[in-house]
Amino acid sequence: MGLRRADKASVFWLLFPFFGLWLFFWLVPLFFGVDLALQNPGYSPEHRDSIERVNKDSVFHFNWLNPPTIEIEETESIKYVGLENFSRVLSDDKFYKALKNTSFYVFGSIMFILPLGFALSLALFQLSRMSRGFLVFCLLIPSLALPSVLSTLFYLFFHGRTGALNQYFVIPLGFAPVNWMMDPLFIMPSLIMQSVWRWTGLVTLFFLCGLEAIPRWQWEVVKLEGVGFWMRIRKIFLPNLWHLVLFAVVFLVVDGFASFSGAYNLLGGSGGIMDAGLLLVTYVYQVAFPGGSGRFDFPGAAAMSLLIVPITAFILFIILQTRHRWSLR
């Protein structure tokens, strides 16, 4: 559509709020981050003094819940160290550990959530409209709760020998009770379990809406031709639901890489035993606001968060490349 002059102005004003906020609260912090990542971690003596003072003030250990406000004073001794912070992060074993854990967490949860959500939405589709709505709303409730609530429940409910999970499932099946939160082998599975529990309902809702949107004639064709289960998936579900699947995957990848609250509450800000549950954002937070060790490494943390960006961008790029694969044939 061609635009008149007055319309150009009104298009501008419709776009301006988004663009302005983007510029001010996304692009500027990004530049701040790049700038910060190039600086010497110990660039300003005054800065360090104030941090050490704050550290001493907190009684025995750094207060995880209220990191004290630090006044950063402008000094002229800011020193740029080039890419040193990046190489420091890249040679940090813990960073790789966190990266590995986070990837495991993201892919693990997607692998469970998508099939489970699909199966549940198919099951819901068999039922009447009334009970469908009610049941899917029930499934949605874990995604409405605060992650910290989920973790608290998880902790008290699944923790230790007396936890419900052990009492109801593990022991009756004849296994030794699992210490879910203390055994390094089981920390990641329990984090994934929490994520599956949290998001499956939402994904089920998306898929159910997708199923309801499939045109009636396609079902009629299936009924007439009597096609098998796999054919049905390939010819009807995948083409119709592909966009929703992609949306769900993008949402889960972004949320997974940014996830913090669940693990933070479950493990109290640490990475758990042997850092088996250390996630990227938790580690960034640990480096920026360390507990006790006093190494307030803002530049290191900034470098690390910038290194996460190409990784998520690459994964999402790959995912979006498949966008047209199944779309309506």
Binding site: F18, W22, T69, L144, L153, G201, N265
Partner: protein, 268 residues
């Protein structure tokens, strides 16, 4: 037969999803000793102490934290809906120079989440003097890439004839936008709720950006749990129940609209 299997599967799933929350609700009336037996569901006596202690600010000013959280999330959701719906409308129905650039920006916002920018954002907020206030959380939360993508899809479904008609009637572009808004109410409500819930659940940003007076619920809950040696567990459970209840009610009221919007969006 198929129906029977579906019902059984779904009952199992619903039980898994709901039981912990039912247990949480009953646990808010329990004593510590009862809570440490997770297989016990119904307490012997229903004690209201935990709720009373929250309402009377005995351990921390819970109600004011609740209001902080509500203020931040509601304002952020409303503003985000307004801002991203306007931009999404323009993307869906108008072409202009630099359009693909701005759309790429919206995608970039999705790719680089706020959580990855939290350290420089903290610095930037210090510099702006906003660090500590609720606005340090509200303002960066408004420009949401997900919202742009969502509303672009929504407005693409609006028939072009409607726009032509509005043009003939002499409506300007933004006039047309306001004209179309009532049509898009289910979509507006849906995205508003999604944004609301994401902001209601946000933990890392408020942890760093807010000062003690503006703390939000996720941090308040972590606080209650952190000092759980002194505070009875039932208080944490009561607080958790109180954070969940309003959200469930809100979603329950709007659920039908939400489903309409999502089905409409899935129609190809």
């Amino acid at each position: 037969m198929k129906r029977f299997f579906s019902t059984v599967t779904l009952s199992g799933a619903v039980l898994v999803c709901l039981y912990p929350f039912i247990w949480m609700f009953f646990s808010s009336f329990k004593t510590n000793r009862e809570i440490y037996q997770p297989t016990l569901l119904i307490p012997e006596n229903f004690e209201l102490d935990s709720y009373l202690s929250l309402f009377s600010d005995q351990y921390l000013p819970f109600m004011s934290y609740f209001l902080n959280s509500a203020f931040i999330s509601i304002l952020q959701a409303v503003l985000a809906v307004m801002v991203t719906a306007a931009a999404g409308f323009v993307f869906a129905k108008h072409s202009f120079r630099g359009k693909s650039l701005i759309f790429a920006i919206a995608i970039l916002v999705i790719l680089i989440p706020k959580q990855a920018l939290v350290v420089p954002l903290f610095d930037w907020m210090l510099w702006l003097g906003l660090q500590g206030s609720s606005w340090s959380l509200i303002l960066p939360g408004i420009a949401s890439g997900l919202g742009i993508v969502f509303f672009t899809q929504v407005f693409k479904k609006v028939p072009n004839e409607l726009l032509e008609l509005a043009k003939v009637e002499g409506f300007s572009v933004h006039g047309t936008f306001f004209l179309l808004l009532p049509l898009a109410v289910p979509a507006l409500v849906t995205y508003g709720l999604l944004h609301f819930i994401l902001s209601w659940q946000e933990h890392l940003l408020p942890l760093l950006l807010l000062d003690d007076d503006h703390i939000t619920l996720p941090i308040a809950l972590a606080k209650l749990r952190d000092s759980s040696h002194r505070i009875p567990e039932s208080v944490g459970m009561a607080a958790a129940t109180l954070t969940l209840l309003p959200v469930v009610v809100l979603f329950g009221i709007c659920f039908r609209k939400m489903k309409t919007a999502l089905v409409h969006l899935a129609l190809s």
